[in-house]
Symmetry: C3
């Protein structure tokens, strides 16, 4: 059983909170004890777990990732011009695994699950699979 | 079955070797064939697998991560001031999955499992779940 | 059941596409619904999922990772001299988990699975485990 979800990102770089969507899938499917894999099938986006409180964390994270992996670079050769998005996706990771217990996601108090867009805005999808 | 372990980090940035603790849980719980998820419920700490021999590897890794994601930055806005810790946690990852076979962790010869503290010292915890 | 595969890298930094090998293992073992863990037992290499189309993506990714985590650095102390390889391995990740459905890997259209060598050329291995 694989659940496919879609979303539309609204900027080039964006951390979209998908925690509620993933929690709703776990509840709806009746998954109780195990873990869920949240998987991104794109190569210029990723999945990360990070703080869900102050929105400045997301802003700062995206700002500094963009400095470390700049969009423009004299040595990039990839014709599509989005090498930085590939680097950011590799750094954040393609998937995250979250424990499920009692039918709920076992996240830390400040943790949220984020779809990390690095080459938007676009229609995107992610998969949720119970392990 | 989820095992919760606690630890106390002693510095702001620290890689704490938790390999023995995770191996002891696997043995005690009688998990024989599968994999364990080692999960960090914090957003300013992570879990990584890396070299367990020369302590200078940990020192060098933490030193360079601190240069790439500096604690002070004129453009950070997050009021708590620990944006760098969030960036380092995203880079190392929130969890690691390690194969279990014959009741033991199947780690490479030089691999250890590390709880990576990026905003210590603090009381911390991590979860171990058999998949 | 753990499948161990070997490969020989040919450069210091190299992203070796192992998608076909992993897909062949899934088919041969008759794994139909679940997920596979692709695990790297080395500390100076990792596993990443990224674009399988334009080879310039791999080149650009390795080029920029080498700038962010340079091989030579006045503050590195690790005697073996390969601190950068450890940093790159931590950044890409030790393992990746890919969904299997209908006996096939559920990868995105442009996704490939890569063994990421950061201290080659060497004989290397990776493990594939069905979850």
């Amino acid at each position: 059983m694989i659940v496919r979800e879609t979303l539309r990102s609204s900027r080039r770089d964006e951390m979209v909170d998908i925690t509620r969507q993933v929690a709703a899938i776990v509840a709806r499917e009746g998954w109780t004890e195990g873990a869920v894999l949240v998987y991104c099938p794109h190569t210029t986006a990723g999945i990360a777990i990070n703080e869900n409180a102050d929105p400045d964390v997301k802003r700062d994270v995206l700002m500094r990732l963009d400095e470390v992996f700049p969009w423009e670079h004299p040595k990039y050769r990839h014709a599509e011009g989005n090498t930085a998005a590939h680097l950011k996706a590799i750094t954040t990771g393609t998937s995250q695994t979250v424990i499920v217990t009692g039918g709920k996601l076992l996240l830390g108090r400040w943790q949220g699950i984020y779809f990390c867009e690095f080459d938007g805005p676009r229609e995107r999808e992610y998969y949720v699979k119970f392990l």
